[in-house]
Amino acid sequence: MTSIDTSAAPRPWRRRAWAGRLFVAPNLAAVTVFLLFPLGFSLYMSFQQWDVFNPPKFVGLKNFRELFTSDPLFLIAIRNTAIFTLGTVAPTVLISLVVAGVLNQKLKGIGIVRTIVFLPLAISSVVMAVVWQFVFNTDNGLLNIMLGWIGVSPIPWLVDPQWAMFSLCVVSVWRAVPFAAVILLAAMQGVPETVYEAAKIDGAGGIRQFVSITVPLIRGAVTFVVVISIIHAFQAFDMVYVLNGANGGPETATYVLGIMLFQHAFSFLEFGYASALAWVMFAILLVLTVLQLRLSRQRSMEAASGLG
């Protein structure tokens, strides 16, 4: 197509090329300054020792070595992040599959329920964290009032280190399910009706159909939800900061990597050390994502060969 354009009218073609460069230019400038440059600069900083007040000093791999060998909080943060990611992603995927399955029914009033379930998508995690703090409140929170009705004594949801991580996971799942359900529901709506007809003739019930037809057919969307949820959970910050405090308390119960990064960067102003931590997080995320995609591809290939 372009070759015809060139031979017939060389000038408009050239003008279009210039217009193309011009139209991309401001956007490219923004991406360069606020994304590409920071990416390189952050890597550079991870090899420096730098607070804002003194000039940066090259220290080689010292930041990384310190992180892995002599910072006990890093190990705690890694452990907490792993627990939080598992405790959020697994329930989120399972619950959102069920929720999307129920919301996919053609029933009266389903639109209202969809509107309600998707409502948290519009609300910031900061506001939701504050609201849940109110719900979790030990002395007069809703949860403990309701537990009181069945004779359970109040649980210090956010105050006790043993419960804090659990509470954080509950809120994160509550917040993440609507998002995951939107994606899964869209995928389910893409499954053609005809697929179910054979199953209906065979007398398979709704739940059977869901487990053995719907879920395998939307495997791609499920993988996507798993990957995105891991990426979100792994970098959690807003929710933890507001629900459990700037230090990921009580004690170190919810001290996750996002909190650690924020502390070192913006409270201690250790930009070099914080950048090294950021790159370790980035590397772990990349490995997790690639592994997950590999695994799901392998699984779908096995499934395909099993069918054949």
């Binding site: 003008r15 193309g20 994304l35 920071p38 998707f118 910031s124 809703l142 507001v242």
Partner: protein, 280 residues
């Protein structure tokens, strides 16, 4: 007859099961919000009572929010930041998206692959250098820090718009080119008006993203007169510890504009998330 009866019973059973599930799901997601609304209308003493509808709703909690903190100032700030960034994103991303989809120039496809690559880069890695850039420019604690980084577009919006423009048929533009329209005229008069669904998705996602953003204002803004609503909420919570009715009233006030947008633009909203997998 008997088999029909069994079938009927089974379908009734199934309907009851599904409606129970629906009710449980709706309650689980609505209840914390309903409880917060109820809490925002209670007096300090009623807070610990398990009542959803307080007998005498205290609307004065809301007016007290306005007197205790510069709510309208923060509201205006947030609207201003979100408005500028949304307008900038829509304009510059659709312009670049059009170029990536339709205008041939050398290096275009390589550049687009680079754009795709940057979508992978997490905020974790870029936020510290961005903070330093703002410091060097002397923009910390100014509106510039809130607006400029998002104003000229970004990789995600460009990708979204490019994908949309690629699906549009080319015949309109070809006719316009033959009529002597410049690329700008084609973009402004033909493609942009046709891109309304994609623009709506990008605008809603951007607006909500800025409105709900927390980390960036937290590290950038000290002055209360420049703060956003989420930042204001967290600061107010620190100042008025355990005055739950007040804090809930403020939370509800922050939520309300987005709930209204959500109800109006639910379709763009949900489609945006389903298509992009992104949620601010």
């Amino acid at each position: 007859m008997a088999s029909v009866e069994i079938l009927f019973k089974r379908s009734v059973f199934r309907a009851v099961l599904i409606y129970t599930a629906l009710l449980a799901i709706a309650c689980f997601w609505l209840f914390p919000i309903a409880w917060a609304v109820s809490g925002s209308l209670k007096s300090g003493g009623e807070i610990s009572e398990p009542i959803l509808f307080p007998a005498h709703p205290r609307w004065s909690n809301y007016t007290e929010v306005f007197t205790l903190m510069p709510f309208w100032r923060m509201f205006f700030n947030t609207v201003f930041y979100a408005g500028c960034i949304t307008a900038g994103q829509v304009f510059f991303c659709s312009l670049a998206g059009y170029a990536f989809a339709r205008l041939q120039f050398r290096g275009r496809d390589t550049l687009f692959v680079l754009y795709l690559g940057t979508l992978m880069v997490p905020l974790t890695v870029t936020v510290i250098p961005q903070f330093i850039i703002m410091r060097v420019l002397g923009w910390t604690d100014t509106p510039w820090a809130m607006i400029v980084p998002g104003l000229f577009g970004g990789a995600f919006g460009t990708y979204l718009m490019r994908q949309f423009f690629s699906t549009l048929p080319t015949d309109l533009e070809e006719a316009a080119t033959l009529d002597g329209c410049t690329p700008w005229q084609i973009y402004w008069r033909i493609l942009l008006p046709h891109a309304r669904p994609a623009v709506a998705v990008l605008a809603v996602l951007t607006w909500v993203g800025v409105w709900n953003d927390f980390l960036w204002p937290l590290v950038m803004i000290q002055r209360n007169s420049l703060a956003t609503l989420t930042l204001g909420l967290v600061r107010m919570r620190g100042e008025y510890v355990a005055r739950w009715p007040l804090i809930m009233a403020m939370s509800m006030l922050i939520m309300l504009p987005l709930v209204i947008i959500y109800v109006i633009a639910q379709r763009s909203f949900v489609r945006g998330i389903a298509v992009t997998g992104l949620n601010g």
